[in-house]
Amino acid sequence: MVLLEINDLNVSIDRTPILNSVSLKLEAGEILGLAGESGSGKTMTAFAIAGLLPGRAEMSGQIVFDGTRLSNASESELCRIRGQDIGIVFQEPMTALNPVMTIGDQVAETVRIHRGVSRREAWQLAQATLDKVGLPSTLFPMDRFPHNLSGGQRQRVAIAIAIVLKPKLLIADEPTTALDVTTQAEILSLFRQLVCDEGIALILVTHDLAVVAETANRVVVMKEGTIVDQGSIADVFQASQKPYVKTLIRNAVHIPTRTSKKIGNIPVLETRNIVREYFGARKLFGRGRVLRAVDGVSVQIYPNENVGLVGESGCGKSTLLRTILGLDRAQAGDVRVFGQKFPPDRHEDMRQLRRRIQVVFQDPFGTFDPRWRVDQIIAENFHLFDLPPTGADARRRVDEILDRVGMQSSDAKRYPHEFSGGQRQRIAIARALITEPSVVALDEAVSALDVSIRAQILDLLADLSDRLGMSYLFVTHDLSVARSITDRVLVMKDGRIVEQGRTEDVFANPSHPYTVRLLGAVPDLDRALSKHPAATQKS
């Protein structure tokens, strides 16, 4: 039975076309993956179905949901359908939940609005639903508030709100992007279970092809507001004739080519038993609990080596990085750069050592002063030289480094907001490289990028390390990145390194149970595809 049919849907906002003749069908009890890079229109398509387009949007075409034409339904009719027949789950569970309402009230609220039942009945239904999404009231009392819950638990509450009225269709917009991999795996399996048990149809909007391949039955790939290809997972991912889809899949599993280099044996960077503690929430009297974010970590990075530091949020990897960069002081243990203590005791040695270790952050835009031009941003690190280059010399060096990261020298006079995400990350890399560092730490440096941009940046990083001879420290939650570019990987959990070893060894034969669990949770395109029936060859 066709539950949802979209015919020739066109949407434009302020006369800019957003969606271009989008047509798709969804059967009851089916999971449809809506995949694409940022700006592809996947979220807009989902919003159009739910009638959540911004007020300025102009829409033409047909959306027929369960026999009702949504495209010309009134707002009050849409309000009835949303929540009742269509449930929606957004990316960020914390902002989607009301922070001052208990989770029980929030789930019950939806019931009372749509069903007009008594408080008690609504509460009971809410309890049953929370139980269904894995928050049994024996463990998670319904008078808890969202801030008492973890990210994954909050997303479960958001899902409970969406499914409490037993909708026919559930729309999930990047529901796991903000979550850790193990949590993501749990939420995705919850979705599969709901579809299976309740017969709900699910539209899963995501940029992650592996998530689609693991979860969905069919996939729609979008690009710039149009549908590029659609069909069963196997058809699209294994046998698509469309060049864009092929490139997308190739980029998603991209492994940069690296020449094997001799890894030195005197560490350029070394940490010895670093301990970093924070004080937890303070009690009325006395100090709060001490949280040990980093608990005796020793790490060595050798010349020409790419090291991955992986772990889920809260494992202490960011704190460790801040300590290594000298932004935070360790309570115990020390960091050594070329055998010298860092930060050094003598202030004069500081700049010389700092030059050796640079960093690229996750969100390049946030790390640029919005009032500075690109050349000023890159030249900021000249501060670390004993004799900072000036005038023409400085300009030449900035141009050189821009050229090296694949930018134009004319870009030097522009401002960061004029560039795309990938270009900004190139500028951030240029800034890190201008001091000719020995170690570059990359803090989730490719996580926020689209797959095609991510592939380019990974290639660039591999190329730069080949030519310039540096070590990289990849701090990331994304194991596929760690796998594709590192020589050695460190797995961190609760402030400790639980496993380390050569990357291929750790990925092939993880020894620590946590690593096993982590690797099992990572969505993997190849593994997912092997589970699907072979592609019906298209002629």
Partner: protein, 296 residues
């Protein structure tokens, strides 16, 4: 009576704003333009007073005392026969200088203190902010009385009193906004570039606070004009025979029944200047705020 003029003045402005330009966001720019116009008018009058006034602002001419506004004396004369228009023009000088220098003192000391408090958490920050609270808790009038009790009344002491009162205002604004800027990632990047708190404050924090501080300065300017008038009103500001808007008001108050022009014109002058700076502050706030600017 002064009050009614004010309301009428505003009503006229608004009516113009809505009839001439239908769109709302250009209306905001209209506020800014009106503010600049009013302020420039007062500044021009003050500048002209250096080279020309209709009459000598200090010359006493008892024979022409308490004359109603006429073609001879546009704004009338006071109880000593001094020309009120001339006094207002010279008085504008005084109001502007006092407000300007007081804002300068406040920003000059308050902003660095605020930057320091934002950059260094802990004792230094607490010390700066608690001292600020202490000054803030002290009424400016009381401070002026205290200063004049020690050093005698005069323009300089009025400036100092208002200026001191401005310090915590600027320090607080700078620290508050500075603290949130310090958590930005580009500050982290600057620290990785080896820059210390001083360089970061000067190169990153201060330029990003510029818009905010300009807006605050405009608001403090308006408040400074009122404060100066208030101090002169109670006799703690500029001393006779130098004319001052505040003292003109206080002198007018016993004669308001039969010579209302003595109170109306200085009152309106204060009003125009305060309103002008208020509009500039408000307009700049919208103009410099990237969120409202982007929508344009």
């Amino acid at each position: 009576m002064t009050h009614r003029e004010v309301i009428q003045g505003q009503a006229v402005d608004k009516a113009d704003g809505f009839t001439n330009v239908p769109e709302r966001d250009t209306g905001m720019a209209l506020g800014l333009r009106t503010g600049i116009f009013l302020t420039v008018a007062v500044v021009t009058a003050a500048l002209i007073s250096f080279v020309w006034t209709p009459y000598d602002a200090k010359a006493i001419d008892i024979s022409s005392k308490l004359l109603a506004p006429s073609s001879m004396h546009l704004f009338g004369t006071d109880h000593f026969g001094r020309d009120i228009l001339s006094m207002i023009m010279v008085g504008a000088r005084n109001s502007l200088v006092v407000a300007f220098v007081a804002v300068g003192i406040g920003a000059g000391i308050g902003v660095p203190l605020g930057l320091l408090a934002a950059a260094r958490k802990g004792l230094a920050s607490e010390l700066v902010m608690r001292t600020n609270d202490l000054i803030f808790a002290f009424p400016s009038l009381l401070m002026a009385v205290m200063i004049t009790a020690v050093y005698g009344p005069g323009a300089i002491n009025a400036i100092i009193a208002i200026g001191i009162f401005n310090i915590p205002v600027f320090a607080r604004v700078t620290r508050g906004a500075g603290l949130s800027l310090w958590t930005r990632e580009y500050i982290l990047a600057a620290r990785v570039a080896g820059k210390g708190p001083f360089l970061i404050s000067v190169q990153h924090i201060l330029p990003n606070l510029r818009g905010l501080l300009i807006v605050q300065a405009a608001i403090q300017f308006a408040l400074g004009v009122v404060a100066e008038a208030g101090l002169s009103y109670v006799g703690l500001g500029v001393q006779p025979p130098m004319p001052s808007w505040g003292r003109m008001l206080s002198e007018a108050q016993t004669m308001i029944g039969f010579a209302p022009w003595m109170a109306i014109f200085p009152g309106v002058a204060i009003m125009i200047l305060v309103f002008g700076f208020g509009l500039i502050g408000d307009g700049l706030n919208d103009h410099l705020d990237p969120r409202t600017r982007r929508e344009r």
